[in-house]
């Protein structure tokens, strides 16, 4: 393995940057499709009931378009009306039972946008509401005993007994709180879109804006009963995903293919923004209840946490979200007596799905608020609270996992504290508040901290079951090409995976390419999710490159008549003993097409029991700490984020610029979730489904960010790297809440902390305007 100076650890410019800055990069709606018709979806308007009929205006000439309803599915080759995710219960088209608003009920495709629009105006759904009122939110689901879609539990020690003892012990403090979060919309700037087309011989092909080509592949195979080679799925350059394009593209791809089969030509479906916002998946709303006991010295003695998630109307990915939620629910803190119980409840709303963090942000909101509550009750500095409680190497988690390696927890806390000048910053904010009060200014500054952890890669045995595979193939003139299903959705995988391969083979990065992510060209290295692309797929790619190296060694041995195993590779050169027998040019000459392949290898000694939820939930964790300074306006409840300092342990930064970009982007999404991203639901449908009314931060809302990268290398990651994609979104919201509390003394327990909520909390206290 090549070490020392090399391309890993350098901020290499994005390899796909040129197309993006010139406008040449082709997103799905940019790809020329001269034969394609335009497709659109007709959706239900009630939250629960029956679809009785679909009425097609007889005055419209329907022969000029194609239309597909559930009745047409069999003749279009559909084996089961279900889009396969974890199960196939979610219908591709509503067949009668309506479980949420915006369910796809019919599809229409037309040769022009104009005709499509006209056709859509001429179709009506006849819907009959259910006899009982629909369940429209988590509170109603809990109150009415809605079906539990999934549940899990974790136990360590005896939390109930420990809490009972603590309640009777005057030296201990009991902290209780209910912490809630609403939906969050991913709001990738490119809406969802797919093009489907029939292939000769009965197969189908799709291309579009997506994160997981093999998820779409699996869903289409299942829907149409096709063999793997009969389905081709390709990712186009994708304008953001954040989880929102993990599963829903399977639905859209299926719709595009259905229309394409009906029309016997390609069909393109590109969602308008409004449709994308109201119909596709969102972050699961959550209600997390904490009851914990703290000792006088601030250490956590026992915790009981209840997690309820709003799943929406179909299972989709919810069990995995709940799983991650409960595995993180007790927080990155030492505790011998922990009980976590989680449930995902049915509601008559569009199914919720993946959004960066995937259950962890919701529980981090709760555990950090609980920590702050305890700190305030005990009179302990909030940073000191984390320093006293945080998990370190050798400590044990709630599932009984011993943290044996790559635990940069203390480092991120210390780095964030140092970078922000924590004590000085807090003192300055306190001084500002005093001065502002004297001067009669309504502005109050405050400083808060948050600390979090995030398991990298799939939970438990997920990677073992997945068996992700990648290959590195030799191309002409010694160029190598990476074959993996990982998609670049902005996070830079098309740059860092080549960096990894280049480093392994000691090649200049210009000699490394990545194949297009098409299922007929690349093996299934797994989905682009779960902070696994660098850590898991990067490692598979590194090993595949090494395999290619070994294959080249064998080839040289054969060519030179040398004994088996006598040629070894050092970097890009080949040695027989100490004698250099070939350089890269010579060794690869005539070997075009040679491949190295590798299948995921699970690190030794890492095991998890899915039944008992005990053991090593994740092979390794990321660690993060955020310090944030805010300024609250007492007149309006508005919170301005002045600045944020973050420190994240990423194991090893393959490309520091790319890593920092992930952190900064995730942080701003966390700040948006904290303060202004409010999905307003009315009668089971997003009521503010326009960019004017769903508020994400502009450049003027975003603070300056100071980003620290900490490296506690992970032995099983490529060159020590582990996951970073999601952890940055876990900490900002509770850090902001802590800063607001420091500024104005209100303890907020619900997200988002809109000005309306902040002002209401202020007014619930005393008058804030003083007499001057």
């Amino acid at each position: 393995m090549a070490t020392g100076t090399g391309v890993v650890g350098r901020s290499v410019a994005r390899l796909d940057g040129a197309g993006k800055v010139t406008g040449a990069a082709r997103y799905v709606d940019d790809v020329p499709e001269p034969e394609a018709w335009f497709g659109a979806t007709v959706r239900t308007t009630i939250a629960a009931g029956r679809l009785e009929a679909i009425v097609w205006d007889p005055d419209f000439d329907w022969s000029r378009v194609v239309r597909v309803t559930a009745d047409d599915l069999p003749r279009l080759g559909v084996q089961v009306n279900g889009v396969m995710c974890i199960d196939d219960a979610q219908p591709v088209l509503c067949a009668g039972e309506i479980l949420h608003r915006e369910e796809p009920a019919a599809l229409v495709a037309a040769p022009t946008q104009a005709l499509l629009h006209e056709a859509l105006c001429r179709v009506k759904l006849v819907e009959r509401p259910a006899g009982t009122p629909p369940i429209l939110d988590l509170d109603a689901a809990i109150a009415r005993g809605a079906p539990v879609i999934t549940s899990y539990a974790i136990r360590r020690g005896d939390a109930a007994a420990a809490l009972a003892r603590a309640a009777a012990d005057p030296t201990m403090k009991i902290v209780e709180g209910t912490y809630t979060t609403g939906h969050q919309e991913q709001l990738y700037i490119e809406t969802c879109g797919m093009v489907g087309a029939p292939l000769p011989g009965g197969g189908v092909t799709v291309h579009g804006s997506l994160q997981c080509p093999y998820y779409v592949h699996k869903a289409l195979k299942h829907l149409f009963g096709l063999a793997p080679e009969q389905v081709v799925v390709q990712q186009d350059v994708t304008g953001g995903g954040f989880g929102g394009k993990e599963e829903y593209p399977s639905m859209i791809g299926a719709h595009a293919v259905l229309l394409a089969r009906a029309a016997n030509r390609p069909v393109k479906i590109v969602y308008e923004r409004g449709e994308d916002m109201v119909a596709t998946t969102k972050r699961h709303p959550a209600r997390v209840v904490w009851r914990a006991a703290f000792r006088a010295d601030g250490t956590l003695a026992a915790a009981r946490v209840g997690v309820d998630l709003d799943a929406g109307a179909y299972k989709t990915l919810t069990p995995v979200v709940l799983s991650r939620a409960i595995l993180h629910a007790a927080g990155p803190y030492r505790c011998d007596d922990v009980s976590v119980e989680g449930r995902a409840l049915f509601t008559n709303t569009p199914p919720n799905g993946a959004f960066r963090g995937f259950g962890a942000p919701q529980v981090a909101w709760a555990y950090e608020r609980a920590m702050d509550r305890a700190a305030a009750l005990l009179g302990v500095d909030p940073l000191e609270m984390r320093l006293r409680n945080h998990l370190r190497e050798g400590d044990v988690t709630a599932t009984g996992q011993v943290l044996r390696w790559s635990v940069g927890s203390t480092a991120v806390l210390e780095r964030a504290a140092a970078s922000s000048h924590w004590s000085g910053l807090r003192a300055a904010a306190a001084a500002q508040r005093a001065a502002a009060e004297r001067a009669g200014s309504p502005l109050r500054r405050g400083v808060g901290v948050a600390f979090c952890f995030h398991g990298a890669g799939f939970t438990g045995n997920g990677e073992v079951n997945l068996k992700g595979k990648a290959e590195v193939e030799l191309g002409p003139r010694g160029v190598v090409r990476i074959l993996a299903a990982t998609t670049d959705i902005g996070q830079g995988t098309r740059t860092i995976l080549p960096q990894i391969a280049a480093q392994e083979l000691d090649l200049p990065i210009e000699r490394v390419e990545m194949e297009e992510p098409r299922t007929d060209r690349v093996p299934d290295s797994g989905p682009t999710v779960a902070s696994r692309s660098c850590m898991v797929v990067g490692k598979i790619v590194q090993e595949a490159a090494a395999e290619l190296g070994r294959a080249l060694c064998r080839r040289l041995e054969n060519a030179r008549g040398l004994p088996d195993g006598s040629v070894a590779r050092r970097g890009s050169a080949f040695f027989h003993g100490d004698e250099r027998v070939a350089g890269w040019e010579e060794a690869t000459h005539g070997a075009e097409g040679l491949r190295g392949a590798h299948v995921y290898h699970h690190p030794a000694g890492v095991s998890f029991d899915d039944k008992t939820y005990q053991g090593d939930a994740y092979p390794v964790y990321g660690w993060g700490a955020d310090v944030v300074e805010v300024e609250v306006d007492l007149d309006t409840g508005e919170t301005r984020v002045v600045k944020i300092w973050t420190a994240h342990d990423v194991g090893r930064a393959i490309n520091p610029m790319v890593v920092a970009g992930q952190i900064e982007g995730g942080v701003l999404q966390g700040l948006g979730w904290a303060l202004c991203e409010d999905v307003v639901m009315k009668d089971g449908r997003m009521a503010n489904g326009r960019m004017t009314n769903y508020i994400i931060p502009t450049a003027l809302d975003a603070p300056e960010m100071v980003t620290d990268i900490v490296e506690a290398p992970y032995f099983h990651g490529p060159f020590g790297a582990k996951g970073v994609g999601e952890i940055p979104i876990d900490g900002p919201a509770p850090a902001v809440a802590a800063a607001i509390e420091d500024a104005i003394g209100v303890h907020l327990a619900a997200l988002p902390m809109t000005p309306e909520r902040v002002l209401a909390a202020l007014e619930a206290g005393s008058s804030t305007m003083g007499t001057r």
Binding site: G17, G19, K20, D30, G240, A660, R690, M691, A699
Partner: protein, 160 residues
């Protein structure tokens, strides 16, 4: 109606409904797909172009108002085959991640830099306040614009 306009220095003509969006005329009529649609309501700025020397959301400009206009899109920012310093910095310094906001962002920043001298970071943020980005947190976008501005100020670079 027939609309004649100059796009990226080239005289063009299209047949389009007078109220067709300039965005669609550029993307479909002229095949210039660099300008993107993100929202269709003038909020995200992904469709930003320069019309007669001023920024505009092309999703809000009816093509009849572009009659005789001079339009610059992302495809017209580079000079011949050399990238504008903004483009170079966006590509090299992390200003672009998924890239969907990048064309509109660069067009907005380009016009701003044409008219400003030694801008502060706050002034840069104001200049791009109409361009939403979901990936970067804006930090490296501001860095890239500041770097391009510094390059221009030092007289070096120009285009590369």
């Amino acid at each position: 109606m027939r609309v004649e306009l100059v796009v990226n220095g080239t005289a063009c003509a299209v047949e389009a409904d007078p109220m067709a969006r300039l965005l669609d005329v550029l993307r479909v009529g002229l095949g210039l797909t660099g300008t993107k649609e993100g929202c269709g309501e003038g909020e995200c700025g992904a469709c930003t172009v320069i019309v007669d020397g001023a920024l505009a959301c092309s999703c809000l400009v009816p093509v009849c108002q572009a009659q005789g206009a001079t339009v610059t899109t992302i495809e017209g920012v580079a000079f011949a085959d050399k990238l504008h310093p903004l483009q170079a910095h966006f590509a090299e310094d992390g200003g672009a991640q998924c890239g969907i906001c990048t064309p509109g962002m660069i067009v907005a920043a380009k016009l701003f830099l044409d008219r400003s001298h030694a801008p502060t970071r706050e002034e840069i943020r104001t200049a791009i306040a109409g361009n939403l980005c979901r990936c970067t947190g804006y930090q490296r976008i501001v860095d890239a614009v500041a770097a391009a501005a510094a390059e221009a100020a030092s007289g070096g670079g120009g285009v590369r």
